[in-house]
Amino acid sequence: MRIGVVTFPGSLDDRSALRAIELAGGTPVPLFHGTNDLKEVQAVVLPGGFSYGDYLRCGAISRFSPIMESIILAAEHGFPVLGICNGFQILCESHLLPGALTRNADLHFICADQKVSVENVDTPWTRGYTKGQEIVIPIKNGEGSFQCSDETLKELEDEGRIVLRYVGKNPNGSRNAIAGISNKRGNVVGVMPHPEQAIENLTGPSEDGLNFFTSILKEMVGL
């Protein structure tokens, strides 16, 4: 199962995402922002980092890269996409996901092991979890505060599209403590915490993040 990871200028966690896919049993495929070639991957991960130095707004410039044209078109037809951190910001800027990620309420860059609950297990990226399961995965961002209109918030809540929610103190002022959401169809998921940094106990706070990658692989082979 080929899963792509896009490297943008300024991506940081692309290698970690590739490694997570490999550890989960998939074939990681590096993709490059400057071409529209998806190299026959069956799903794609937009990794964390600071693409284009976060200039203008986080993700605002990457959103217009050639690879994103292919990804946006494919995603609208059900192609699975996971955006992590900067990847989530790119998905919002692309309008594949609603809302926007803004400066953390206390203005700090936050780097911490964060407890979140998995609230939507009806996406190809989260089916391996149980609903309400609490997991610990790292957050590391300066602009992770999820904001959207009241109508959008109601829609997300009513349709069960909150994928991850912060447990305990809301770290960044996100509306309704939202840490991750999906599109209507469920194939596009954006999360601020980093599942790819919690795939083994040697390097992360837990192995709780690996399930994102095993979930998509199981989905691909129809398990």
Binding site: L56, R57, A60, I61, F64, C92, E93, P98, G99, A100, T102, R103, N104, A105, D106, L107, S145, Q147, C148, S149, G173
Partner: protein, 81 residues
């Protein structure tokens, strides 16, 4: 030569922690006039000659597409000589 200016501000309902930080720094320096502060962005776009209405329409399109995020921000376009 003229400058087309695009000013981008967070919508009023969107939390602006940067503006709040500035607002709380002002009184520490003895400036007590500010009831609140909101921080935005200003783009100065240089064009040859007098800007045409087509050019301004193009800039508005660019402001909507790239320079601002309509989900959280508003913008105004104006011309400066």
């Amino acid at each position: 030569m003229a400058i087309i200016v695009v000013e981008v501000m967070l919508k009023p309902e969107i939390l602006d922690p940067q503006g709040q930080a500035v607002a709380s720094a002002l009184p520490r320096l003895g400036f007590t006039f500010a009831k609140s502060v909101r921080q935005g962005k200003r783009f100065e776009i240089e064009v040859d000659g007098e800007p045409t209405s087509e050019q301004i329409a193009e800039v508005e399109k660019a402001a909507h597409t790239l320079l601002s995020n309509p989900v959280i921000e508003n913008f105004v376009v104006k011309v400066e000589k």
